[in-house]
Subunit: 156 residues, 3 copies
Protein backbone atom coordinates (compact mmCIF):
# COMPACT_ATOMS: atom_id res chain seq x y z
CA UNK A 1 0.00 0.00 0.00
CA UNK A 2 1.50 3.36 -0.95
CA UNK A 3 1.62 6.14 1.62
CA UNK A 4 -0.81 8.15 -0.47
CA UNK A 5 -3.38 5.40 0.03
CA UNK A 6 -3.19 5.29 3.81
CA UNK A 7 -3.25 9.07 4.01
CA UNK A 8 -6.16 9.22 1.59
CA UNK A 9 -8.17 6.66 3.53
CA UNK A 10 -7.66 8.60 6.74
CA UNK A 11 -8.93 11.74 5.02
CA UNK A 12 -11.91 9.93 3.52
CA UNK A 13 -12.74 8.55 6.96
CA UNK A 14 -12.42 12.05 8.42
CA UNK A 15 -9.73 10.80 10.79
CA UNK A 16 -6.88 12.97 11.97
CA UNK A 17 -4.16 10.99 13.73
CA UNK A 18 -3.57 12.23 17.27
CA UNK A 19 -0.19 13.15 18.69
CA UNK A 20 1.42 9.89 19.85
CA UNK A 21 0.62 9.44 23.57
CA UNK A 22 3.46 9.51 26.08
CA UNK A 23 4.24 6.39 28.11
CA UNK A 24 2.75 6.37 31.63
CA UNK A 25 5.89 4.84 33.19
CA UNK A 26 9.54 3.87 32.76
CA UNK A 27 9.34 2.56 29.22
CA UNK A 28 9.02 3.75 25.64
CA UNK A 29 6.08 3.88 23.24
CA UNK A 30 7.44 1.37 20.74
CA UNK A 31 10.45 -0.84 20.12
CA UNK A 32 11.60 -2.30 16.83
CA UNK A 33 13.04 -5.81 16.71
CA UNK A 34 14.12 -6.91 13.25
CA UNK A 35 11.22 -5.89 11.03
CA UNK A 36 8.68 -6.17 13.83
CA UNK A 37 7.57 -3.22 15.87
CA UNK A 38 6.05 -3.70 19.31
CA UNK A 39 3.74 -0.89 20.38
CA UNK A 40 3.22 -0.35 24.10
CA UNK A 41 -0.27 -0.89 25.48
CA UNK A 42 -2.57 1.88 24.28
CA UNK A 43 -5.46 3.30 26.30
CA UNK A 44 -8.56 5.22 25.13
CA UNK A 45 -6.93 8.59 25.73
CA UNK A 46 -7.59 11.72 23.71
CA UNK A 47 -5.16 14.59 24.28
CA UNK A 48 -4.03 12.95 27.49
CA UNK A 49 -7.52 12.49 28.94
CA UNK A 50 -9.20 9.16 29.57
CA UNK A 51 -12.36 9.07 27.46
CA UNK A 52 -13.78 5.70 28.54
CA UNK A 53 -13.25 4.60 32.16
CA UNK A 54 -14.24 1.57 34.14
CA UNK A 55 -15.35 -1.90 33.16
CA UNK A 56 -17.61 -2.88 30.28
CA UNK A 57 -20.71 -4.96 30.98
CA UNK A 58 -23.06 -5.43 33.90
CA UNK A 59 -23.66 -1.99 35.40
CA UNK A 60 -20.73 -0.55 33.45
CA UNK A 61 -20.12 0.73 29.96
CA UNK A 62 -22.12 -0.58 27.01
CA UNK A 63 -20.64 -2.74 24.27
CA UNK A 64 -20.89 0.29 21.97
CA UNK A 65 -18.88 2.43 24.38
CA UNK A 66 -16.36 -0.37 24.70
CA UNK A 67 -16.00 -0.63 20.92
CA UNK A 68 -15.48 3.13 20.68
CA UNK A 69 -12.84 2.86 23.42
CA UNK A 70 -11.09 0.10 21.45
CA UNK A 71 -11.20 2.31 18.36
CA UNK A 72 -9.50 5.14 20.25
CA UNK A 73 -6.78 2.72 21.42
CA UNK A 74 -6.24 1.67 17.82
CA UNK A 75 -6.06 5.29 16.69
CA UNK A 76 -3.34 5.95 19.25
CA UNK A 77 -1.46 2.85 18.11
CA UNK A 78 -1.67 4.04 14.50
CA UNK A 79 -0.30 7.44 15.49
CA UNK A 80 2.72 5.73 17.05
CA UNK A 81 3.23 3.45 14.05
CA UNK A 82 3.00 6.42 11.68
CA UNK A 83 5.67 8.25 13.67
CA UNK A 84 8.00 5.35 14.49
CA UNK A 85 7.73 3.19 11.36
CA UNK A 86 8.28 5.93 8.83
CA UNK A 87 4.68 6.24 7.72
CA UNK A 88 1.72 3.90 7.63
CA UNK A 89 2.43 2.67 4.10
CA UNK A 90 5.25 0.57 5.53
CA UNK A 91 3.12 -1.08 8.18
CA UNK A 92 1.27 -4.38 8.34
CA UNK A 93 -0.60 -5.29 11.53
CA UNK A 94 0.45 -8.75 12.72
CA UNK A 95 -1.26 -9.35 16.03
CA UNK A 96 -3.49 -7.32 18.35
CA UNK A 97 -4.32 -8.22 21.93
CA UNK A 98 -7.26 -6.44 23.49
CA UNK A 99 -7.69 -6.34 27.24
CA UNK A 100 -11.24 -5.32 28.10
CA UNK A 101 -11.97 -4.26 31.69
CA UNK A 102 -14.88 -6.53 32.44
CA UNK A 103 -17.72 -6.33 34.94
CA UNK A 104 -19.30 -9.54 36.22
CA UNK A 105 -20.00 -12.19 33.62
CA UNK A 106 -19.80 -9.94 30.56
CA UNK A 107 -18.51 -12.06 27.66
CA UNK A 108 -18.75 -9.69 24.69
CA UNK A 109 -15.04 -8.86 24.45
CA UNK A 110 -14.95 -9.83 20.77
CA UNK A 111 -17.60 -7.24 19.89
CA UNK A 112 -15.69 -4.62 21.88
CA UNK A 113 -12.44 -5.41 20.08
CA UNK A 114 -14.10 -5.17 16.68
CA UNK A 115 -13.93 -1.41 17.24
CA UNK A 116 -10.16 -1.66 16.98
CA UNK A 117 -10.07 -4.32 14.28
CA UNK A 118 -12.50 -2.49 12.01
CA UNK A 119 -10.45 0.70 12.22
CA UNK A 120 -7.28 -1.13 11.20
CA UNK A 121 -9.05 -2.65 8.19
CA UNK A 122 -10.55 0.73 7.24
CA UNK A 123 -7.22 2.57 7.35
CA UNK A 124 -4.78 -0.11 6.19
CA UNK A 125 -7.01 -2.36 4.06
CA UNK A 126 -5.37 -5.78 3.60
CA UNK A 127 -2.35 -4.67 5.64
CA UNK A 128 -4.70 -4.13 8.58
CA UNK A 129 -5.93 -7.73 8.76
CA UNK A 130 -4.41 -9.27 11.89
CA UNK A 131 -4.40 -12.18 14.28
CA UNK A 132 -6.23 -11.29 17.46
CA UNK A 133 -6.64 -12.11 21.11
CA UNK A 134 -9.45 -10.62 23.24
CA UNK A 135 -9.75 -11.16 26.97
CA UNK A 136 -11.74 -9.70 29.84
CA UNK A 137 -9.62 -8.47 32.74
CA UNK A 138 -10.26 -7.19 36.25
CA UNK A 139 -9.02 -3.61 35.82
CA UNK A 140 -6.63 -1.54 33.71
CA UNK A 141 -4.11 1.27 34.26
CA UNK A 142 -5.71 4.67 34.92
CA UNK A 143 -9.03 2.79 35.05
CA UNK A 144 -9.13 2.54 31.24
CA UNK A 145 -12.02 0.58 29.72
CA UNK A 146 -9.75 -1.08 27.14
CA UNK A 147 -6.04 -1.57 26.57
CA UNK A 148 -4.68 -2.57 23.18
CA UNK A 149 -1.34 -4.13 22.33
CA UNK A 150 -0.18 -4.12 18.71
CA UNK A 151 2.63 -6.02 17.03
CA UNK A 152 3.20 -4.81 13.48
CA UNK A 153 5.60 -5.55 10.66
CA UNK A 154 7.61 -2.80 9.03
CA UNK A 155 8.61 -3.24 5.42
CA UNK A 156 11.09 -0.74 4.04
CA UNK B 1 10.54 -33.69 12.51
CA UNK B 2 9.18 -35.18 9.31
CA UNK B 3 5.51 -34.79 8.46
CA UNK B 4 5.07 -38.52 8.78
CA UNK B 5 6.06 -38.27 12.43
CA UNK B 6 3.53 -35.64 13.42
CA UNK B 7 0.80 -37.43 11.47
CA UNK B 8 1.78 -40.72 13.02
CA UNK B 9 1.73 -39.36 16.54
CA UNK B 10 -1.73 -37.89 15.99
CA UNK B 11 -2.93 -41.31 14.83
CA UNK B 12 -1.30 -43.09 17.75
CA UNK B 13 -2.95 -40.62 20.11
CA UNK B 14 -6.28 -41.21 18.39
CA UNK B 15 -6.52 -37.52 17.59
CA UNK B 16 -8.21 -36.19 14.50
CA UNK B 17 -7.51 -32.52 13.91
CA UNK B 18 -10.70 -30.47 13.75
CA UNK B 19 -11.60 -28.07 10.96
CA UNK B 20 -9.84 -24.79 11.78
CA UNK B 21 -12.30 -22.58 13.67
CA UNK B 22 -13.50 -19.35 12.09
CA UNK B 23 -12.61 -16.01 13.71
CA UNK B 24 -15.37 -14.52 15.89
CA UNK B 25 -14.72 -10.97 14.66
CA UNK B 26 -12.99 -8.70 12.16
CA UNK B 27 -9.68 -10.50 12.00
CA UNK B 28 -8.04 -13.62 10.62
CA UNK B 29 -7.09 -16.94 12.21
CA UNK B 30 -3.33 -16.57 11.79
CA UNK B 31 -0.75 -14.17 10.41
CA UNK B 32 2.78 -14.97 9.37
CA UNK B 33 5.58 -12.49 10.07
CA UNK B 34 8.97 -13.63 8.85
CA UNK B 35 9.20 -17.22 9.98
CA UNK B 36 6.89 -16.66 12.94
CA UNK B 37 3.20 -17.41 12.81
CA UNK B 38 0.81 -15.77 15.24
CA UNK B 39 -2.36 -17.78 15.86
CA UNK B 40 -5.44 -15.89 17.02
CA UNK B 41 -6.78 -16.69 20.48
CA UNK B 42 -8.33 -20.15 20.48
CA UNK B 43 -11.34 -21.16 22.57
CA UNK B 44 -12.51 -24.63 23.69
CA UNK B 45 -14.86 -24.98 20.74
CA UNK B 46 -15.72 -28.24 19.02
CA UNK B 47 -17.55 -27.92 15.70
CA UNK B 48 -18.43 -24.35 16.59
CA UNK B 49 -19.89 -25.14 20.01
CA UNK B 50 -18.42 -24.03 23.33
CA UNK B 51 -17.57 -27.16 25.28
CA UNK B 52 -16.32 -25.57 28.53
CA UNK B 53 -17.99 -22.36 29.71
CA UNK B 54 -17.52 -20.11 32.68
CA UNK B 55 -14.71 -19.67 35.17
CA UNK B 56 -12.53 -22.36 36.68
CA UNK B 57 -12.27 -22.63 40.45
CA UNK B 58 -14.48 -21.77 43.41
CA UNK B 59 -17.99 -22.84 42.46
CA UNK B 60 -17.02 -23.19 38.82
CA UNK B 61 -15.31 -25.79 36.65
CA UNK B 62 -12.78 -28.21 38.12
CA UNK B 63 -9.07 -28.10 37.33
CA UNK B 64 -9.58 -31.26 35.26
CA UNK B 65 -12.30 -29.59 33.19
CA UNK B 66 -10.06 -26.57 32.79
CA UNK B 67 -7.16 -28.72 31.57
CA UNK B 68 -9.45 -30.44 29.06
CA UNK B 69 -10.61 -27.02 27.88
CA UNK B 70 -6.98 -25.96 27.43
CA UNK B 71 -6.34 -29.15 25.46
CA UNK B 72 -9.23 -28.33 23.11
CA UNK B 73 -7.82 -24.84 22.58
CA UNK B 74 -4.46 -26.38 21.70
CA UNK B 75 -6.11 -28.81 19.30
CA UNK B 76 -7.75 -25.91 17.50
CA UNK B 77 -4.44 -24.06 17.35
CA UNK B 78 -2.78 -27.16 15.88
CA UNK B 79 -5.49 -27.41 13.23
CA UNK B 80 -4.76 -23.83 12.19
CA UNK B 81 -1.01 -24.38 12.16
CA UNK B 82 -1.42 -27.55 10.09
CA UNK B 83 -3.49 -25.63 7.54
CA UNK B 84 -1.58 -22.34 7.46
CA UNK B 85 2.02 -23.47 7.97
CA UNK B 86 2.05 -26.19 5.33
CA UNK B 87 1.82 -29.11 7.74
CA UNK B 88 2.85 -29.68 11.33
CA UNK B 89 6.30 -30.99 10.44
CA UNK B 90 7.34 -27.42 9.72
CA UNK B 91 6.16 -26.06 13.04
CA UNK B 92 7.90 -25.38 16.34
CA UNK B 93 5.90 -23.88 19.20
CA UNK B 94 7.65 -20.78 20.54
CA UNK B 95 5.37 -19.26 23.16
CA UNK B 96 1.89 -20.00 24.49
CA UNK B 97 -0.18 -17.69 26.64
CA UNK B 98 -3.13 -19.22 28.45
CA UNK B 99 -5.89 -17.03 29.80
CA UNK B 100 -7.96 -18.97 32.30
CA UNK B 101 -11.35 -17.54 33.32
CA UNK B 102 -10.95 -17.57 37.08
CA UNK B 103 -13.46 -17.64 39.94
CA UNK B 104 -12.49 -16.10 43.27
CA UNK B 105 -9.02 -16.89 44.52
CA UNK B 106 -8.38 -19.93 42.29
CA UNK B 107 -4.63 -20.03 41.60
CA UNK B 108 -4.21 -23.31 39.68
CA UNK B 109 -3.81 -21.77 36.23
CA UNK B 110 -0.56 -23.68 35.65
CA UNK B 111 -2.28 -27.05 36.11
CA UNK B 112 -5.04 -25.94 33.74
CA UNK B 113 -2.55 -24.90 31.09
CA UNK B 114 -0.70 -28.20 31.32
CA UNK B 115 -3.62 -29.59 29.32
CA UNK B 116 -2.45 -27.51 26.38
CA UNK B 117 1.28 -27.91 26.97
CA UNK B 118 1.09 -31.69 27.30
CA UNK B 119 -0.78 -31.97 24.00
CA UNK B 120 1.85 -29.94 22.19
CA UNK B 121 4.61 -32.17 23.56
CA UNK B 122 2.65 -35.32 22.69
CA UNK B 123 2.04 -34.27 19.09
CA UNK B 124 5.20 -32.32 18.25
CA UNK B 125 7.74 -33.88 20.65
CA UNK B 126 10.75 -31.56 21.06
CA UNK B 127 9.23 -29.06 18.62
CA UNK B 128 6.29 -28.73 21.02
CA UNK B 129 8.34 -27.50 23.97
CA UNK B 130 7.53 -23.84 24.46
CA UNK B 131 7.86 -20.80 26.69
CA UNK B 132 4.63 -20.19 28.57
CA UNK B 133 2.54 -17.62 30.35
CA UNK B 134 -0.56 -18.54 32.36
CA UNK B 135 -2.87 -15.98 33.94
CA UNK B 136 -6.30 -15.93 35.53
CA UNK B 137 -8.69 -13.42 34.01
CA UNK B 138 -12.16 -12.12 34.81
CA UNK B 139 -14.02 -13.46 31.79
CA UNK B 140 -13.45 -14.54 28.17
CA UNK B 141 -15.23 -14.14 24.82
CA UNK B 142 -18.34 -16.30 24.45
CA UNK B 143 -17.85 -17.17 28.14
CA UNK B 144 -15.06 -19.62 27.29
CA UNK B 145 -13.28 -21.27 30.22
CA UNK B 146 -9.86 -20.87 28.59
CA UNK B 147 -8.32 -18.90 25.73
CA UNK B 148 -4.98 -19.86 24.23
CA UNK B 149 -2.61 -17.77 22.18
CA UNK B 150 0.16 -19.50 20.24
CA UNK B 151 3.24 -18.07 18.56
CA UNK B 152 5.02 -20.68 16.46
CA UNK B 153 8.00 -20.79 14.16
CA UNK B 154 7.71 -22.11 10.64
CA UNK B 155 10.75 -23.68 9.05
CA UNK B 156 10.52 -24.41 5.37
CA UNK C 1 26.93 -2.81 25.99
CA UNK C 2 29.92 -4.95 26.91
CA UNK C 3 29.49 -7.79 29.38
CA UNK C 4 31.74 -5.96 31.82
CA UNK C 5 29.22 -3.14 31.93
CA UNK C 6 26.18 -5.26 32.80
CA UNK C 7 28.16 -7.21 35.38
CA UNK C 8 29.54 -4.00 36.83
CA UNK C 9 26.12 -2.40 37.10
CA UNK C 10 24.79 -5.44 38.90
CA UNK C 11 27.66 -5.19 41.39
CA UNK C 12 27.17 -1.45 41.85
CA UNK C 13 23.48 -2.05 42.50
CA UNK C 14 24.36 -4.78 44.98
CA UNK C 15 22.35 -7.28 42.95
CA UNK C 16 23.25 -10.94 42.71
CA UNK C 17 21.32 -12.75 40.01
CA UNK C 18 19.33 -15.68 41.40
CA UNK C 19 19.46 -19.21 40.04
CA UNK C 20 17.04 -19.31 37.09
CA UNK C 21 13.65 -20.54 38.41
CA UNK C 22 12.31 -23.87 37.17
CA UNK C 23 9.10 -23.95 35.12
CA UNK C 24 5.97 -24.79 37.14
CA UNK C 25 4.55 -27.03 34.38
CA UNK C 26 5.11 -28.81 31.08
CA UNK C 27 7.16 -26.14 29.35
CA UNK C 28 10.61 -24.56 29.34
CA UNK C 29 11.95 -21.34 30.82
CA UNK C 30 12.80 -19.67 27.51
CA UNK C 31 12.69 -20.30 23.79
CA UNK C 32 14.73 -18.60 21.12
CA UNK C 33 13.16 -17.78 17.76
CA UNK C 34 15.52 -16.09 15.30
CA UNK C 35 17.23 -13.44 17.39
CA UNK C 36 14.30 -13.07 19.75
CA UNK C 37 14.10 -14.87 23.05
CA UNK C 38 10.77 -15.45 24.75
CA UNK C 39 11.02 -15.84 28.52
CA UNK C 40 8.24 -17.75 30.28
CA UNK C 41 6.08 -15.85 32.76
CA UNK C 42 8.12 -15.01 35.84
CA UNK C 43 6.69 -14.82 39.36
CA UNK C 44 8.03 -13.04 42.47
CA UNK C 45 9.82 -16.13 43.71
CA UNK C 46 13.06 -16.16 45.68
CA UNK C 47 14.76 -19.54 46.03
CA UNK C 48 11.51 -21.22 45.06
CA UNK C 49 9.34 -19.40 47.59
CA UNK C 50 6.60 -16.94 46.75
CA UNK C 51 7.54 -13.60 48.30
CA UNK C 52 4.47 -11.55 47.38
CA UNK C 53 1.10 -13.31 47.29
CA UNK C 54 -2.41 -12.20 46.56
CA UNK C 55 -3.85 -9.20 44.77
CA UNK C 56 -2.61 -5.62 44.89
CA UNK C 57 -5.01 -2.83 45.87
CA UNK C 58 -8.12 -2.58 48.03
CA UNK C 59 -7.48 -4.66 51.13
CA UNK C 60 -4.49 -6.34 49.52
CA UNK C 61 -0.84 -5.51 48.94
CA UNK C 62 0.33 -1.91 48.65
CA UNK C 63 1.61 -0.38 45.43
CA UNK C 64 5.09 -0.47 46.95
CA UNK C 65 4.83 -4.20 47.63
CA UNK C 66 3.54 -4.71 44.11
CA UNK C 67 6.47 -2.79 42.64
CA UNK C 68 8.90 -4.88 44.69
CA UNK C 69 7.16 -8.02 43.42
CA UNK C 70 7.52 -6.80 39.84
CA UNK C 71 11.20 -6.14 40.51
CA UNK C 72 11.67 -9.73 41.70
CA UNK C 73 9.96 -11.01 38.55
CA UNK C 74 12.36 -8.93 36.46
CA UNK C 75 15.34 -10.23 38.41
CA UNK C 76 14.26 -13.79 37.66
CA UNK C 77 13.81 -12.93 33.98
CA UNK C 78 17.31 -11.43 33.92
CA UNK C 79 18.75 -14.58 35.47
CA UNK C 80 17.19 -16.63 32.66
CA UNK C 81 18.39 -14.24 29.97
CA UNK C 82 21.92 -14.28 31.43
CA UNK C 83 21.94 -18.08 31.32
CA UNK C 84 20.16 -18.67 28.01
CA UNK C 85 21.35 -15.75 25.90
CA UNK C 86 25.06 -16.12 26.61
CA UNK C 87 25.32 -13.21 29.03
CA UNK C 88 23.42 -9.98 29.51
CA UNK C 89 25.70 -7.97 27.23
CA UNK C 90 23.98 -9.63 24.28
CA UNK C 91 20.47 -8.77 25.41
CA UNK C 92 18.08 -5.95 24.58
CA UNK C 93 14.64 -5.94 26.18
CA UNK C 94 11.96 -5.59 23.49
CA UNK C 95 8.61 -5.91 25.24
CA UNK C 96 7.43 -6.64 28.75
CA UNK C 97 3.89 -7.54 29.76
CA UNK C 98 3.04 -7.26 33.43
CA UNK C 99 0.00 -9.03 34.82
CA UNK C 100 -0.86 -7.59 38.22
CA UNK C 101 -3.28 -9.55 40.42
CA UNK C 102 -5.79 -6.83 41.17
CA UNK C 103 -8.29 -6.35 43.99
CA UNK C 104 -11.45 -4.36 43.34
CA UNK C 105 -11.04 -1.17 41.35
CA UNK C 106 -7.28 -0.77 41.84
CA UNK C 107 -5.91 0.95 38.74
CA UNK C 108 -2.25 1.54 39.63
CA UNK C 109 -0.80 -1.27 37.52
CA UNK C 110 1.61 1.14 35.79
CA UNK C 111 3.21 2.12 39.11
CA UNK C 112 3.52 -1.54 40.04
CA UNK C 113 5.20 -2.40 36.76
CA UNK C 114 7.69 0.45 37.13
CA UNK C 115 9.40 -1.84 39.65
CA UNK C 116 10.28 -4.15 36.78
CA UNK C 117 10.95 -1.45 34.20
CA UNK C 118 13.26 0.53 36.48
CA UNK C 119 15.35 -2.56 37.19
CA UNK C 120 15.80 -3.27 33.49
CA UNK C 121 16.96 0.30 32.89
CA UNK C 122 19.31 0.17 35.90
CA UNK C 123 20.96 -3.08 34.80
CA UNK C 124 20.91 -2.79 31.01
CA UNK C 125 20.85 1.00 30.50
CA UNK C 126 19.64 1.82 26.97
CA UNK C 127 19.29 -1.88 26.17
CA UNK C 128 16.74 -2.13 28.98
CA UNK C 129 14.30 0.38 27.51
CA UNK C 130 11.27 -1.56 26.31
CA UNK C 131 7.72 -1.41 25.04
CA UNK C 132 5.30 -2.32 27.81
CA UNK C 133 1.84 -3.59 28.58
CA UNK C 134 0.40 -3.56 32.11
CA UNK C 135 -2.95 -5.09 33.01
CA UNK C 136 -4.84 -6.02 36.16
CA UNK C 137 -6.00 -9.62 36.29
CA UNK C 138 -8.19 -11.70 38.57
CA UNK C 139 -5.58 -14.09 39.93
CA UNK C 140 -2.20 -15.62 39.05
CA UNK C 141 -0.50 -19.03 39.31
CA UNK C 142 0.56 -19.96 42.86
CA UNK C 143 -1.32 -16.83 43.97
CA UNK C 144 1.54 -14.60 42.81
CA UNK C 145 1.01 -10.85 43.10
CA UNK C 146 2.61 -10.17 39.71
CA UNK C 147 3.59 -12.16 36.62
CA UNK C 148 6.02 -10.76 34.06
CA UNK C 149 6.54 -11.82 30.47
CA UNK C 150 9.66 -10.67 28.66
CA UNK C 151 10.54 -10.74 24.98
CA UNK C 152 14.16 -9.82 24.38
CA UNK C 153 16.50 -9.58 21.41
CA UNK C 154 19.79 -11.44 21.38
CA UNK C 155 22.63 -9.96 19.38
CA UNK C 156 25.66 -12.16 18.93
Amino acid sequence: MSEALAEKRLQELGIELPTPPQPAGSYTRSVRSGNQIFVSGQLPLTAGEMVFSGPVGEGGLSVEDGAEAARLCALNALSILAADAGGLDNVRIVRMTGYVATAGAFAGQAAVMNGASDLMAAVLADAGVHARVAVGVQRLPLDAAVELEVIAEVNG
